[in-house]
């Protein structure tokens, strides 16, 4: 609708018949601008590539760290599920007492499983595995105690600790041992690493934001004359800034894609090294790569980054250009 001349038909919207048609027109014009912005980027390929690569690299590091932290958590969770309380029994205990104790423990509602390591069997295994066979043969009697491995039903470290305290007071038990301190340390380290990832990500993303903002600013300066003309013939700020916002969106999307590709490449490159390490630990660990959802988030983060960087530039600079 015209502002000065009421009744004067102005704008395509005035002549469109329905709301649906207007919506369709609006969508169409946005689509056209998005494609137009892509074309503009294509016209300056080197500049675009540099910006996109800088963006991609700034997103690669946080994404890679995220994957590493994710895998570390996976490892520690894996171990969480295998808490075991080792009960070292008093020496000189006879077989009947052991059998009674095992039955007693097996009927305990908090205990999942009890496994006995007989001192003779343990000795035989130790002799074989340790390589001290001859030295051990010199011993007059078996110094090893009988050991019961108790698996608690509840998997939380706290419950395991409570169980350990209770079993410590059990008859015939010399020492109840629960080795979770290293797990706690691992968990603490993982949390620290995660915090570090967030900190570094924040810094890098700030940098990326400024890079995009600067790229868009240069584009605006390059089109200063054009923007002046557009303002003279009645373009609103939002109309003028729209192509630049789409440009930011595209840059972000491509940056996200580069980050994704780099992370995958990096993990592929690391995978043989990781396989060797896990082989040495005889664990069935397999490296988790980016999930589909995470790839989606990465792209979305890139687009958001591109859009906001562009918005920062557009807001101040387009307003400042006046005919």
């Amino acid at each position: 609708m015209s502002l000065l001349f009421s009744g004067r038909q102005s704008g395509a919207a005035d002549s469109a018949p329905g709301v649906l048609q207007q919506l369709l027109m609006w969508l169409l014009s946005h689509l056209r601008q998005a494609v137009f912005s892509l074309g503009e980027l294509w016209r300056t390929p080197v500049w675009t590539l540099v910006t996109v690569v800088v963006l991609g690299i700034s997103m690669t590091l946080p994404a890679t760290l995220h994957v590493l932290v994710k895998n570390l958590q996976e490892v520690s969770e894996h171990y969480d599920q295998s808490f075991e309380v080792s009960l070292f029994l008093q020496s000189g205990i006879n077989q009947t007492d052991i059998a009674t104790l095992v039955t007693l423990l097996q009927s305990d509602p908090e205990i999942e499983k009890v496994r006995l390591i007989d001192r003779n069997a343990a000795m035989a295994e130790f002799r074989q595995a340790s390589g001290f066979g001859e030295a051990i043969a010199l011993l007059e009697e078996n110094p090893l105690p009988d050991v019961l491995l108790v698996t608690p039903k509840n998997n939380s470290p706290l419950a395991a600790e409570a169980l350990q305290g209770r079993l410590q007071k059990e008859k015939f038990v010399e020492l109840a041992k629960l080795d979770i301190s290293w797990l706690e340390r691992l968990a603490a380290l993982t949390a620290l690493a995660q915090q570090l990832v967030y900190g570094i990500a924040l810094l890098l993303l700030c940098g990326a934001l400024l890079v995009i903002g600067n790229t868009i600013r240069l584009m605006i300066m390059d089109k200063k004359a054009e923007i002046e003309v557009m303002k003279l013939v009645g373009a609103t700020d939002s109309f003028i800034q729209r192509p630049f916002l789409y440009t930011g969106l595209w840059l972000g999307l491509f940056g996200g894609f580069i980050a994704f590709a780099t992370v995958e490449l990096l993990l592929y490159w690391l995978s043989s090294g990781i396989a060797r390490v896990t082989e040495l630990y005889q664990s069935s660990f397999s490296l988790h790569v980016l999930s589909l959802k995470e790839i989606g988030w990465l792209m979305l983060a890139g687009m958001l980054l591109g859009w906001s960087g562009s918005y920062l530039a557009v807001r101040s600079h387009i307003r400042a250009i006046e005919p």
Binding site: S2, L3, L4, F5, R8, S10, G11, A12, A13, S15, M25, W26, L28, S29, R32, A225, E226, E228, V229, M230, K231, L232, V233, G234, A235, T236, D237, F239, E322, P323
Partner: protein, 227 residues
């Protein structure tokens, strides 16, 4: 239609570009604004198109005081005013068609509707066959006429021209003026700033003369009636 009431404009540093200027331009009227460079012609046009704001006085278009128009509404006011510039201000890396279509694109037109209107405007200035050309390949007169086509493509009720013939030879200038006359005859109000007195004196239209920011003459000048 267009009213100036005691309008003054001074710039920081004390330079007074316009000093208490008053006049009224009727609906469907064509008038010339003349004076030496620096007399205040451009400033007057800038006040109408809201590129500048007056220091004192009121500028009123169709009963609406431009002082009431906020920053965000400025683009909508400009859509009602067709503007033509001495340096034609075309987008050099876009075709003639795209240049003329710009105001329509801004207002959300597309497709056949837009094409029809652009072709009609280009036809009115006699440049329909140049639609696909780039502005750089046009002559000065042609580029100026493309600028006119862009200004009238969305049929604004008011047309402002700032030295439209400044860079043209006399014959081309007369052509351009004839285009303005044609639009005026279809009911558009036209205000043309020009220092080419020899040209405008030969046409029988109202002439307003500015000197050092003051209106020193308003109406037909001597000798115009006898031509």
């Amino acid at each position: 239609m267009l009213v100036f009431e005691q309008v003054s404009k001074s710039y920081p540093g004390g330079f007074v570009a316009l000093d208490r200027v008053s006049f009224e331009l009727g609906k469907g009227e064509l008038a010339f604004l003349t004076g030496h460079s620096g007399a205040g012609k451009s400033t007057m046009l800038k006040l109408i198109s809201l590129i500048e704001r007056p220091s004192a006085g009121r500028v009123v278009i169709n009963g609406i005081d431009l002082a009431d128009v906020g920053r965000r509404q400025v683009p909508y006011v400009r859509r009602d005013i067709g503007m033509i510039f001495q340096d034609h201000r075309l987008l050099m890396n876009h075709s003639v068609f795209d240049n003329v279509a710009l105001p329509l694109v801004i207002e959300g037109y597309s497709g056949r509707d837009m094409t029809r209107r652009v072709h009609a405007a280009l036809d009115q200035v006699g440049l329909l066959d140049k639609a696909r050309c780039l502005p750089a390949t046009l002559s000065g007169g042609e580029a100026q006429r493309v600028g006119i086509a862009r200004a009238v493509v969305n049929k604004p009720p008011l047309l402002l021209a700032d030295e439209p013939t400044g860079n043209l030879d006399p014959e081309l200038s007369r052509d351009v003026m004839r285009v303005f006359e044609a639009f005026n005859q279809s009911g558009v109000s036209v205000l043309i700033a020009s220092h080419d007195l020899a040209l405008i004196a030969r046409m029988r239209y109202r002439i307003m003369s500015l000197k050092n920011g003051r209106m020193i003459h308003d109406g037909l000048i001597q000798g115009q009636e006898s031509v």
